[in-house]
């Protein structure tokens, strides 16, 4: 139960990214796992070939998120960052929370209709959440780099969340 409380605290920290060391110090990967699974489940039933009941899509989302996070972590370590491997994975995983919320909102909006209005709403929500995710993770990760390298570290994070936002925005149910 102590683990559950720790996970809950980290979720709150992501929503209000203050400069605290709770996310960095006691890392755990439960939150990222839950977020990854729920995001992958919500991205099912999309406009891909339906003969596989969206099977490969689930694994694709899973692999994109984890492999992408690993690559960003390797990149920041190669650039001489002081953060450890699992701490970086932890931060990147937890900062997927705003995008998961965006996915939920998108699915609800798509229930109402899929016209231009709904597209505009979804666009605004996804862009806002994408900005939030990127800012939250940058607030935690960019500090571990020397100042002239911050852009080199932020750029892959930007790309990572951009790909996830793209998957969310282009989701159209059948």
């Amino acid at each position: 139960m102590r683990d559950l409380k720790a996970v809950g605290k980290k979720f709150v920290h992501v929503m209000y990214p203050k400069k605290s060391s709770a996310l960095l110090r006691d890392w755990d990967l439960w939150g990222p796992l839950v977020l990854c699974v729920s995001l992958a489940l919500m991205l099912q039933g999309g406009s891909a070939d339906s003969k596989d009941d969206g099977g490969p899509q689930f694994a694709e989302v899973f692999v994109i998120i984890w492999f992408g996070a690993v690559v960003i972590t390797l990149n920041s370590k190669l650039l001489g960052g002081t953060i450890s491997f699992f701490q970086s994975l932890c931060v990147l995983g937890y900062c997927v929370l705003p995008l998961t919320v965006a996915m939920l909102v998108c699915r609800l909006v798509l229930l109402a209709g899929s016209g231009t209005v709904s597209f505009v709403i979804r666009l605004i929500v996804v862009v806002a959440m994408f900005g939030w995710s990127t800012l939250a993770s940058t607030a935690f990760l960019a500090d571990s780099q020397p100042p002239n390298r911050k852009a080199l570290v932020v750029y892959p994070i930007f790309l990572f969340y951009f790909v996830i936002s793209w998957m969310i925005l282009t989701f159209t149910p059948q």
Binding site: D53, G55, I83
Partner: protein, 207 residues
């Protein structure tokens, strides 16, 4: 948390102690933590069973994958935090210092003077049996998924190998102790085996 500062108190338990059974008559062979033993094996075996029977159980690939992922995660948490501590008195974790550096800590429980806290043989056997065979089975699954081109299962299988392999590695490090080097121990064991075999062969050719 009780932390053992000096490493001298940690008993050097050898990994391959099958010959010492006779001398340890005082150790009970009952199972002291039946619930922990059950769950230690339950999650691992059910993950493997679900993977093998997924075609028969349900036609939905996603349900199988999510179930296996959940079972693997529960197994990882249970083995790392609960069953290792209760059944064999070992634990390992990641420690982040105040200055931000992280390092891994491996601990073995000190054997108390009365011997009341010694782990039972049966529990120890169950623990190590489950810990060693399941990652090997997942590695076999990995190769079979790779060579039969069932790539969509590869994500699940890799996750199984990584999670269970991590627990195996952590507990072996605990058992060996942080002083000894894992590779030097393996080399010395293999060296002894090699020596035994060559001596046996020489005896055969000589007689």
């Amino acid at each position: 948390k009780l932390r053992q500062g000096s490493n001298d108190d940690i008993e050097d338990v050898s990994l391959f102690d099958a010959d010492d059974d006779v001398s340890r008559r005082s150790k009970k062979s009952k199972i002291r933590h039946p619930v922990a033993s059950f769950f230690h094996l339950f999650f691992r075996v059910s993950a493997i069973v679900v993977y093998l029977l997924c075609e028969l159980l349900t036609s939905s690939f996603i349900a199988c994958m999510v179930t296996i992922i959940l079972l693997l995660s529960c197994d990882f948490w249970a083995v790392k935090n609960v069953t290792g501590r209760l059944m064999v008195g070992l634990r390992w974790w990641n420690q982040v210092d105040d200055d931000g550096r992280s390092h891994w800590v491996f601990e073995a429980r000190k054997v108390s003077a009365q011997g009341s806290k010694t782990s039972s043989e049966a529990e120890s056997r169950i623990f190590w049996l489950g810990l060693i065979t399941c990652p090997m089975i997942w590695v076999i699954f990995a190769f079979s998924a790779l060579f039969s081109f069932k790539v969509k299962w590869l994500a699940v299988v890799v996750m199984g190998v990584v999670l269970q392999g991590a627990n195996l590695y952590g507990y072996i490090r605990c058992k060996v102790g942080s002083r000894k080097n894992l590779t030097s121990m393996a080399t010395s064991y293999l060296g002894k085996q090699f020596l035994r075999q060559t001596v046996a062969k020489e005896d055969q050719t000589a007689s």
